[in-house]
């Protein structure tokens, strides 16, 4: 048994690699479906001509001007603005795709050859790459032992009920917010002149932009619902009591941060509703005795909601709040780990 395993080189992998390489070569030949993207798609839109939009006036023989029958002017609007901006209509992605395909096939082929050669040369069964990588890292950072301790931690069975999932769902939705938020930040411009236009651009021109923005909005709502539900569960089972006081405090901080996230994010589209909701909201802050005026000026950066307010809310929303939330989440999770899950009576 051992003998036969030693003698058998891995031909399967090499065969797959050869097949892939042949496929890639075929794909690169002129006329294949992949290569067809080579030719730039001719731009069918004529240059803009304002005169064409004007309704022509026919001179009647009698001298009186008679408007010609109105014909709908040909559309001047580009149906796919982002195609031009990202260069998609020139087949810009074709060549890198071809190279990536060829390189992948080549790497698989080289790896298969190396594997076969190694097995043949050493007469030892092949050690998977993941095991090698783990061994290499473990030699330097000794992480498998603490990791297995971390993963092997026993969890009480009562914590398998669905209402113990709510905190995890909130954390997951925070992850969704981080990913979609970064995607939106690539295109959003936080100035009063451009904010609204950039939102329109994201929705109508950026690929999947509308979907990403909608996901961002709805996960924000979901995150608040789930955070409140998680808090209600913690309150009902009494999991905030000694020795978990700080766990509750960090959780309350996280809820507060989430609400501030919502408040600052609401202004960013810079539409009428956002502007006036922020005006009213900061006004409420300004009504607090003693520190009211200071709060108002700090929030608005001045006495009115202006470009400076938008900048400040944007900085809060994309830099300060995420960092603070990550720190509080770290503390929150660490405390759950340390103290375990509270046993309900």
């Amino acid at each position: 048994m051992q003998q036969s395993r030693r003698r058998a080189p891995r031909f399967r992998m090499a065969a797959v690699a050869v097949a892939l390489a042949l496929l890639a070569t075929a794909a690169m030949l002129p006329g294949s479906p992949v290569a067809r993207g080579d030719q730039p798609i001719p731009d069918g839109h004529p240059p803009f001509d304002a005169a064409r939009l004007a309704v022509p006036v026919e001179q009647a023989p009698g001298g009186a001007a008679r408007p010609a029958p109105v014909v709908a002017p040909e559309s001047q609007q580009d149906p796919c603005l982002h195609c031009h901006i990202s260069g998609e209509n020139t087949g810009i992605t074709t060549e890198p795709m071809r190279w990536a395909l060829a390189a992948a096939a080549g790497m698989v082929f080289a790896f298969g050859m190396f594997q076969s050669a190694t097995v043949w040369r050493t007469r030892r069964p092949w050690t998977p790459l993941t095991a090698r990588a783990v061994g290499w890292l473990d030699e330097r950072y000794t992480f498998t032992e603490p990791l297995s301790k971390l993963l092997g931690k026993p969890v009480p069975k009562f914590a398998m009920r669905w209402w113990y999932c709510l905190g995890g769902i909130t954390a997951f939705l925070f992850g969704v917010q981080a990913v979609t938020g970064i995607m939106l930040a690539f295109y959003y411009r936080p100035t009063p002149e451009e904010a609204y236009q950039s939102i329109l651009y994201i929705q109508e021109q950026v690929r999947f932009g509308g979907a990403v923005r909608t996901i961002h909005q709805w996960s924000a709502n979901g995150m608040i619902v789930m955070a409140i539900a998680h808090m209600a569960r913690t309150f009902i089972v009494g999991a905030y009591k000694r020795p978990r006081e700080l766990n509750w405090v960090s959780g309350a901080l996280l809820l507060l941060l989430t609400l501030v996230f919502g408040f600052t994010g609401y202004l960013l589209p810079w539409d009428q509703r956002a502007y006036w909701a922020t005006t009213v909201g900061t006004e409420i802050g300004g009504a607090i005795p003693i520190i009211g005026d200071l709060t108002l000026v700090m929030l608005r950066v001045g006495w009115d909601v202006t470009a400076a307010t938008l900048s400040r809310f944007y900085a809060l929303h994309v830099i300060i709040l995420p960092v603070a939330t990550l720190a509080a989440m770290g503390a929150h999770f660490l405390m759950v780990r340390r103290l375990g899950i509270a046993r309900p009576l």
Binding site: L151, M160, I169, G210, A211, I236, W248, A274, A277, L345
Partner: protein
């Protein structure tokens, strides 16, 4: 209850499962379910998209200003109390929220407090939902 049954119940309560893979796989499954929902919302974004209003104009005050839905309950309260009280109430509520474990930190001795807290939560939830709907009208 026989002694055996009591013993069995006690041992069941003490039972644990390892974090990996049982608990972790459950979290992963929940995450995948949520991801499916999120992708669905993205795919149907034209249905779910929240409307983008007119561009902001500091010169034109709209007739109705509404905050995000989670501030609606508070917004409704503000309509009935003086402005200063309206600003102080949320600050006090947040303070109370943070101070809760220090006000009531003694571990429970019976199931009674749990039931009381459940009732309090239910009443609060009903009141807040009602205020939110009222504020949204």
């Amino acid at each position: 209850m026989t002694e055996k049954a009591i013993e069995k119940q006690a041992s069941e309560e003490e039972e644990t499962v390892p974090f990996f893979p049982v608990q972790l796989m459950r979290e992963v499954r929940v995450s995948f379910g949520l991801l499916a929902v999120v992708v669905l919302v993205g795919a149907l974004w034209r249905v779910f998209a929240l409307e983008l209003g007119e561009p902001a104009d500091p010169m034109v005050t709209p007739a109705h200003t509404k905050p995000e839905w989670y501030f609606l309950a508070l917004y409704q309260v503000l309509k009935f109390v003086p402005k200063t009280a309206g600003a102080v109430i949320p600050v006090v509520l947040v303070g109370l929220l943070f101070a809760l474990p220090f006000i009531d930190g003694k571990p429970d001795a019976s199931r009674r407090p749990t039931r009381i807290r459940f009732a309090v939560t239910a009443v609060l939830a009903v009141v807040v939902v009602a205020m939110t709907i009222w504020g949204g009208m």
